[in-house]
Symmetry: D3
Amino acid sequence: MAKISGRNKLPGVVTKVVTDKLMAKVEIDAPGGIKLVAIITRDAAEELRLRKGMKVTALIKATEMMVVAP
Amino acid sequence: MAKISGRNKLPGVVTKVVTDKLMAKVEIDAPGGIKLVAIITRDAAEELRLRKGMKVTALIKATEMMVVAP
Amino acid sequence: MAKISGRNKLPGVVTKVVTDKLMAKVEIDAPGGIKLVAIITRDAAEELRLRKGMKVTALIKATEMMVVAP
Amino acid sequence: MAKISGRNKLPGVVTKVVTDKLMAKVEIDAPGGIKLVAIITRDAAEELRLRKGMKVTALIKATEMMVVAP
Amino acid sequence: MAKISGRNKLPGVVTKVVTDKLMAKVEIDAPGGIKLVAIITRDAAEELRLRKGMKVTALIKATEMMVVAP
Amino acid sequence: MAKISGRNKLPGVVTKVVTDKLMAKVEIDAPGGIKLVAIITRDAAEELRLRKGMKVTALIKATEMMVVAP
């Protein structure tokens, strides 16, 4: 994973995968009680064989992240 | 924060803000030892008065997140 | 809304919400006769209780916008 | 413009272009008093010869837009 | 196509279009044996009348591209 | 590379890297004479040690790609 330019790499465990005809929703538990949700293609979910309990890394480009102040 | 459609909201503390003429890099410590990096506009960093020690929320749309399998 | 780093915040009124199993299409009328279309998760559309006639704000990060010259 | 898959096409007038070494910030006045800000490459700003007073179209993919409820 | 700020314009031929209620998957053969996959709205796929054999251009903003080193 | 959900993986050779304080522009020659341009963080460019002549893969999520019809 160190060789991908994307700056944000969050380790986690897949808790749920829901697939539709083209897309898939992947729910991931990350450290510190953080819940993540990724929408990817169904093709990708099948190719990666994503399933509950699987260890994965969520990858986010720094330019895709917003910041919200309280 | 509950009223934004973006699914991924990670609480954290700003550890560093570096600004250039147009852009700013914001480093954030999230729970579980996760380090985040967001690239936003300098205008936004100034408007939000982002600085070290400030509590913020990183916001990421579910469609912007990739998944990497081991 | 002033505290989100995303630079583009367009006020509007929801004119139509169409949901599929995972995703939702939200059509919004913005000022000046502009028609917007956002694709978000169905979960988000339900959580925000989006429906026709509701006032919302479309949010777009400056790095996600392209410019087209005539 | 009708032949681009991106769903959101906002007409406007460039009010300001600020360039850095790699990036450029383009401020655009859209109808209804909406102010837009796009961050694009400096190369693109130069190729399109963007300058104050120029009519342009802001282009945003539907999947890049979030919705915020009041 | 020269007047769009998006820096990456890949010519190709549509090899497959699969539509769901809201989204469409467009598979494109680009030069050099490259296979591309775009997820766009069904509305866009219909408006552009995308179909097998059609020549199109895939458009990607430079800030949306990651780089992976071997 | 087969284990990343991102659907578009274009092999290429770096032809130029230009860095600014926060960002870097990476120009890549892909097969079939395609020229690619990625804007990533300077941190990433340094971590991956990107330089002219290096073989890399450009990675693009399917939802980030638009389609343009002639």
